[in-house]
């Protein structure tokens, strides 16, 4: 009784429940025959949302107003440049990954420079940055689609023991994130900064350093996600990240992270990512038109947050 009760007080439980209900409703159409296929697909595509979502979650934890809108553009730039560099050669996989990470670092640096040096609110700073990054992506190869190296393409599209490889990568990143948040000083610091920046400063926390690292982390995760996605879908496209703007925010908040900052959780990201994929699949499966589908998606998001967020305090 009590453990169950305590489980229901976890902020992330609702996204998992919602994901499960939607999954169940979807497989019922085929009386369960699609269970395996659907689960695998869900794990595969949720993985990308999880990776970008975790980065976004760290940023959102920094407190009200902190958000990274440059995620899609960073994904695109990292994907295009890395694939161009690798040029279908298996030997270049590691340099490609390195370049993607460096791009993430540069974008993160740019973001924080704008936020700190020019005091531009993060939402606008990262938006402006994303325009520049997007232009850079266009400029580098004018939208030509280059194929990923065969080993990478193979790796990202196959499974190990029935679990998609990308999902395993996302799981490892989630574990790292969980560890950072729960067990390290850094995790305490970002939570403290999210609750009150002046208080964090006066408690001796290196506020700027911590925020800087967090923006770097988010941008690097976005570029890693872009790298993987480009390999998974057989080449980088200029618009490949656009979906992940709303997605990265939605999975964070549906997952039970406080939008007002200071409180985050990793399991919720998974629940929410699975949910966001499954809900579209469910509505597609039931053959609903685009209009109805959008309305249902919206209403479901609101109901989940109503169930989950009713009692928790939040600024917004």
């Amino acid at each position: 009784m009590t453990p169950l009760f305590r489980l229901f007080r976890k902020p992330w439980i609702w996204s998992w429940l919602a994901a499960f209900v939607v999954w169940f409703l979807t497989i019922m159409v085929t009386l369960g025959a699609s269970a395996l296929g659907l689960s695998q697909a869900a794990l595969t595509f949720a993985a990308f949302s999880v990776i970008v979502g975790i980065g976004q979650m760290f940023v959102i934890t920094l407190g009200p107003g902190n958000i990274d809108l440059s995620v899609p553009a960073t994904m695109t730039l990292a994907g295009t440049v890395a694939l161009k560099l690798m040029n279908v050669e298996n030997g270049m996989i590691l340099p490609g990954l390195l370049v993607a990470i460096v791009i993430g670092l540069v974008v993160g640096l740019g973001n924080y420079a704008l936020i700190k040096a020019l005091r531009i609110p993060p939402i606008i700073a990262t938006l402006s940055m994303s325009f520049i990054v997007q232009s850079a992506a266009i400029w580098t190869n004018r939208g030509l689609r280059i194929k990923p190296p065969s080993v990478l393409a193979e790796f990202t599209t196959s499974s190990t023991l029935g679990v998609p490889n990308v999902a395993i990568v996302a799981l490892l990143i989630s574990l790292l994130a969980w560890f950072l948040l729960e067990k390290t000083i850094y995790g305490r610091w970002i939570s403290a900064i999210g609750q009150s920046m002046p208080a964090a400063r006066m408690a001796g926390i290196p506020v700027d350093g911590t925020r800087f690292v967090t923006y770097l982390f988010c941008a690097v995760l976005a570029s890693v996600a872009g790298y993987l996605l480009a390999c998974f879908s057989g080449g980088a496209a200029l618009n490949m990240g656009s979906e992940y703007l709303l997605m990265s925010i939605a999975v964070v908040v549906i997952g039970g992270t406080a939008v007002a900052g200071g409180d985050s959780n990793v399991p919720g990201i998974w629940g929410a990512s699975l949910f966001m994929f499954l809900v579209v699949s469910m509505l597609n499966t039931y053959g609903l038109g685009a209009g109805i589908r959008l309305i249902m998606t919206g209403l479901i998001i609101i109901s989940v947050i109503m169930l989950a967020g009713g009692r928790r305090a939040g600024m917004r």
């Binding site: 395996l36 659907l38 004018r142 689609r145 194929k147 879908s233 057989g234 496209a237 579209v280 699949s281």
Partner: protein, 314 residues
């Protein structure tokens, strides 16, 4: 005589390879035209996001800048009418292509999107006389090209009732979105005989289907190189057969020449039609050879082509 005339390209989106190819073609053809002194300038302008309001502002700026003609790929067939009307009132020639506008004072170089959708089903009916289930991949909801092609496909299904649309997803013309949407609906679908697309989503669908143990259906392809290449591989390996329909991005150059002809005082009908680009099993290799790696199958137009199109419309 148009050597003193200035032409602007108003483009609403640059975020995919088709648009990039379109801009490249424009740059190539108009660059030569400017050098040859045919026109004084041919500047391309692009908005950051696919938004009618921003493009309307862009057109209004072009009016201020004193261009003589505006070549327009519109974000919306109707939402730019206000701005287009103001341009016309200012004595500017407006030629729309691909994404055309309904404002009567503008010229339209249109593709018959409905016919494009219908022809896909017609093709399938030849390959699959017994019919079967179809999966439809649509574009971006609320955009008119999506609505037109889809209407054509549904018309085709009515014409060939042996087909049934078993599922329909929106791929937003982005191949990763298409891949995701298809992967999500696929487990719940019965056997699929064919996939009808709007061009550009074929490879994503193929990827999603390849990830399952289903038999590969006939996927109608678009004109991106990766689609054609995949088709070629399948053709070589297991004599896979399909076709590809699309619009050549080089149509922007046709629009350029048409605008130039109008400026030159030629009588041109308001509605011109360009054929869509179709690739079949037998001319796949030639087309693939002409396509840049990672690019889009393309056709560029010359002044003579434009004159021919104008003449034939009369």
């Amino acid at each position: 005589e148009t050597s003193a005339k200035k032409i602007a390209l108003s483009n609403n989106y640059a975020g995919n390879s088709w648009r990039q190819a379109m801009l490249t073609s424009w740059g190539k053809v108009t660059g030569e035209a400017v050098k040859a002194g045919t026109v004084a300038a041919a500047d391309p302008f692009t908005t950051a996001e696919n938004q009618a309001t921003e493009q309307a502002a862009q057109i209004q700026n072009m009016i201020l800048q004193g261009y003589d003609a505006i070549v327009l790929n519109a974000a919306s067939p109707t939402a730019l009418n206000g701005a287009v009307k103001e341009a016309c009132d200012a004595g500017i020639i407006v030629v729309s292509f691909d994404g055309i506008v309904t404002e009567p004072c503008a010229w339209r170089i249109a593709v018959n999107f409905k016919e494009m959708g219908r022809s896909e089903v017609e093709y399938l009916s030849k390959k699959l006389p017994d019919g079967g289930n179809l999966l439809e991949i649509r574009g971006l909801a609320g955009v008119f090209v999506d609505d037109e092609i889809s209407a054509g496909i549904h018309e085709g299904v009515k014409q060939f009732p042996q087909f049934k649309i078993a599922g329909s997803v929106h791929g937003d013309w982005a191949q990763d979105v298409a891949q995701k949407a298809v992967a999500g609906i696929l487990p719940s679908l019965p056997d699929i005989a064919g996939v009808v697309t709007q061009g550009g989503d074929g490879y994503g669908a193929a990827q999603a289907i390849a990830a399952t143990d289903r038999k590969m259906p006939i996927i109608i392809m678009g004109n991106r190189e990766d689609e054609l290449k995949w088709w070629k591989e399948q053709k070589d390996a297991k004599s896979y057969e399909t076709m590809s329909v699309s619009i050549a991005p080089g149509v922007s150059t046709l629009a350029f020449w048409v605008a130039q002809q109008i400026l030159d005082g030629k009588e041109v009908k308001k509605d011109l039609v360009v054929p869509f680009l179709r690739i079949d099993q037998d001319n796949l290799e030639t087309n693939l050879a002409n396509t840049q790696a990672g690019g889009v199958a393309n056709v560029e137009y010359t002044q003579a082509d434009a004159i021919k199109v104008i003449e034939s419309a009369k």
